[in-house]
């Protein structure tokens, strides 16, 4: 009996002790190791960087990026910003050109045509120009289609036809990029010598090249290319280089360890510079055709009327006329030293 009562006492005592400990440490049941203590949380990782990257088991290392919410910022650029930049610059340029045309009209040759011509562009120069230009038109149209087609052309063509056209557009854009590249690469050394800034450019810029005055004052000084054309040249060379680099990144996606972020950045520059390119080339096209009498032929048969040359590129005209045999008949308005 005494042994049993002793055992009971021990058990009761032990239980009392356990209860006392339990009461004294009320949190004991939850004080187990939290298996989540060291675990990362999504919010924490996203605050640290814009990409959550881990390890995977498949060969596609791109897939090791678990989350990349920055894609949503690129989405905003593509669906909002690029449309505004492109819309404002292209429509704005068209509006400016229309206003300019209604105010100024076609810029005529003041002295009339002399009937005598001098060579302005060689066959090779014209070839390079038209190679670049033809490629640019197709690249421009198919490029704008990727950004604006869904809103402007799709409702009109329907989903099936629009997709077919866009797929061909994509192929044309990818493959003709090589023609454009060749064009710009040839254009760079071909005209670089005539495109460095000179003193004449300062004069030309001061008068806006005479474009904004209707009076028939003295022609603004210019060599083979005026200051405006030089700016266009450098935009084509430098902007064209940027378009090539970003464009080839997009054609060869993820090559050489490029990340999604790099691809997005390439698209941002490609799209942004691209729409500005289109806007500038619209102005160039206007001045080379509708906007100015006697300019377009320089890119057709390569010659310009002597009076046109004197009015638009007087320094170049004087130099060329001293060297080139003049083609054509009489009627030349001369300012040669003989008079």
């Amino acid at each position: 009996m005494t042994r049993i009562s002793a055992a009971v006492r021990t058990i009761v005592g032990a239980l009392a002790l356990v209860c006392a400990i339990a009461l004294l440490t009320p949190a004991a049941s939850t004080a187990q190791v939290n298996p989540n203590a060291a675990a990362v949380s999504e919010e924490q990782l996203l605050n640290q960087s814009d990409v959550i990257r881990g390890l995977g088991t498949i060969p596609d290392t791109k897939s090791y990026v678990l989350e990349h919410p920055a894609g949503r910022e690129w989405r905003v650029f593509r669906t909002v910003w690029l449309k505004w930049i492109g819309g404002v610059s292209i429509l704005g340029m068209l509006a400016l050109l229309a206003l300019f045309y209604f105010w100024r009209g076609t810029i005529h040759i003041d002295g009339g045509r002399s009937g005598r011509t001098i060579v302005r562009f060689t066959a090779f120069e014209r070839f390079v120009h038209w190679l670049t230009a033809a490629a640019f038109v197709i690249l421009g149209v198919t490029g704008l289609n990727i950004t604006f087609g869904r809103a402007l052309i799709l409702p009109w063509l329907g989903h099936g036809a629009f997709s077919a056209w866009s797929e061909w557009g994509k192929y044309a854009h990818n493959y003709l990029s090589f023609a454009f590249t060749v064009g710009v690469i040839l254009m760079f050394p071909m005209w670089v010598g005539q495109n460095f800034p000179t003193k004449a450019d300062v004069e030309w810029l001061k008068t806006g090249g005479g474009m904004f005055s209707k009076g028939h004052g003295a022609p603004a000084p210019a060599w083979k290319f005026n200051a405006g054309q030089k700016m266009l040249y450098w935009f084509i060379v430098l902007g064209g280089a940027a378009m090539m680099v970003t464009g080839y990144v997009l054609i060869f996606p993820f090559y050489g360890g490029l990340t999604v972020g790099d691809m997005e950045l390439a698209e941002i520059f490609h799209g942004g510079i691209g729409v500005l390119f289109v806007a500038l080339i619209l102005a160039h096209t206007y001045l080379g055709t509708l906007g100015m009498e006697g300019a377009f032929e320089s890119m057709v048969d390569g010659t310009v009327d002597v009076n046109w040359a004197k009015e638009h590129h007087p320094l170049w005209a004087d130099k060329e006329m001293a060297q080139q045999p003049l083609a054509g008949g009489p009627g030349l308005v001369t300012s040669t030293p003989a008079e």
Binding site: E42, G54, G71, W74, R75, T79, F252
Partner: protein, 197 residues
């Protein structure tokens, strides 16, 4: 109509990759394409967690917003699907997607991509439900048969849940309350602007 969602409980995922295999098998997915994948964070360190990720079928899907040919659509179940006949393989949806879901078969030289492929929440594409054309382009249409996505159905630890967003959200919440911890429903904030816990 239920709003279908995925939820991966990272505290349960054991990185067995059964979901990946099940998906590839169920839909006859070609080599090189993974509609679902498992990514392990802090591999080999304390607090290592694995997350099974696929298309989350976002509420306001970035892929659909940036697509130049408007080939995406959202079904009545809230599943984001696309039409492969319209896709031109431009790759923009991959740039926009926060989860790296869109995949492309390489079909030509340079970076030429074929038609985009991604998780369909086991609900096929625009073709007739269960048709041969639908199966060839998008894989099985389990939803049309009254079944849920296979990846989640066969998840051994029930880490991956798929189904009515409210129901799986409740299940996850209950788990977190019961066990006292939870590292969060990965991707929910980004995809649905919602926290499940």
């Amino acid at each position: 109509m239920a709003r279908m969602k995925f939820l991966c409980d990272a505290d349960r995922c054991i990185e067995c990759n059964a979901c990946v295999t099940a998906c590839k098998n169920e839909h006859e997915i070609p080599w090189g394409i993974n509609r679902r994948r498992v990514v392990t964070l802090d591999d080999g360190k304390p607090g290592e967690r694995s997350v099974s990720m696929a298309c989350m079928h976002c509420t306001d899907a970035p892929c659909a917003a940036v697509c130049p040919v408007d080939c995406f659509y959202t079904t009545a179940d809230g599943v984001v699907l696309h039409n492969k006949d319209l896709c031109i393989g431009c790759g923009y949806c991959f740039y926009a997607c926060p989860f790296g879901a869109p995949q492309y078969p390489k079909t030509g030289n340079f970076g030429t991509r074929g038609k985009m492929d991604k998780c369909t929440f086991c609900s096929g594409g625009p073709e007739a439900d269960g048709s041969k054309e639908e199966y060839e382009k998008y894989g099985a249409n389990r939803l049309a048969e009254g079944k849920l996505p296979l990846c989640a159905e066969m998840c051994a630890t029930k880490a991956l849940l798929a189904g009515d967003g409210e129901v799986i959200g409740e299940i996850y919440k209950e788990r977190v309350e019961t066990r006292g911890y939870g590292s969060g429903a990965w991707g929910w904030l980004t995809a649905y602007n919602d926290k499940a816990s």
